[in-house]
Symmetry: C2
DNA sequence: AAGCTTTCTGTTATAACATCACGTTAATGG
DNA sequence: CCATTAACGTGATGTTATAACAGAAAGCTT
């Protein structure tokens, strides 16, 4: 089940809600229900194969198959494209800022909204 | 209505869901319905009086009454306390990292999970 | 004051996201 | 073979958020 969910997410460039995934997989498997999808998504996110976009209640396949890492997501307001940014320095800086008030960080949620390079180019032409 | 919602959020130190707020206010005003609360919360967040915690689907009163600013939230896994961190430098750094791939940032969602100073102190004693 | 617009609120219903609780099946290993 | 565990199926429910439309209050214009 995890593999099937991951395949669906990989076929799609953008984020999908759990119910989007459910809709796709129901084309083959009728009777598929939300808990099944959520279980698979939960395992996949734990394994780092899928990331959850907290501010969208949606999921995307990880762009980097091979590694353990923390991530920063950029989300284009125009086209919805999501991109994964890896920057340990920035995450360290963030932990540093938090630690100024004695806070010990364990997990970061960073989601940046704006306009991607492609959409900026289109808009510049128009 | 905005004032009443804001008062409720200020009385509470931690985050509240829209329905938590609704529950509080229903003690006085029966018949209060979700859209009323969501409208008030929407105006308050637009005005910067309230911040939304995207990863919790919850809301907190802004800790800084007086100003326009972007914010970073720290959230304690142990006690649930939320703290607002202001760091324009870090936000600039974040925009900078995103711009390396041509992305133009307009809004940042930054939520850090971990353990606050108070909870760390308690744990250290034990 | 009458009529108009604007803004906020009330109300019902429903959409969208997520989990609980329990039962069944299938593989694992003693 | 049987106990255990892990994954999945199933139905119901819980939680978060919005759509669509109606009504009331406040301010403006004439």
């Amino acid at each position: 089940m995890q593999d099937e969910v991951l395949d669906v997410l990989r076929e799609r460039s953008g984020p999908m809600s759990a119910y989007d995934v459910l809709g796709q997989l129901r084309q083959d498997k009728l009777n598929l229900a939300p808990p099944t999808i959520y279980r698979a998504l939960s395992s996949l996110t734990n394994r780092g194969k899928v990331h959850r976009l907290e501010s969208l209640n949606a999921f995307v396949a990880c762009q980097y198959d091979d590694h353990e890492h923390a991530w920063i997501m950029s989300i284009c307001d125009s086209c919805g494209a999501v991109n994964e940014i890896v920057s340990p320095e920035l995450l360290n800086a963030l932990s540093g800022v938090a630690s100024e008030s004695g806070f010990l960080s364990t997990r970061h949620v960073i989601e940046i909204y704006g306009q991607c390079a492609a959409c900026r180019a289109i808009e510049a032409k128009a």
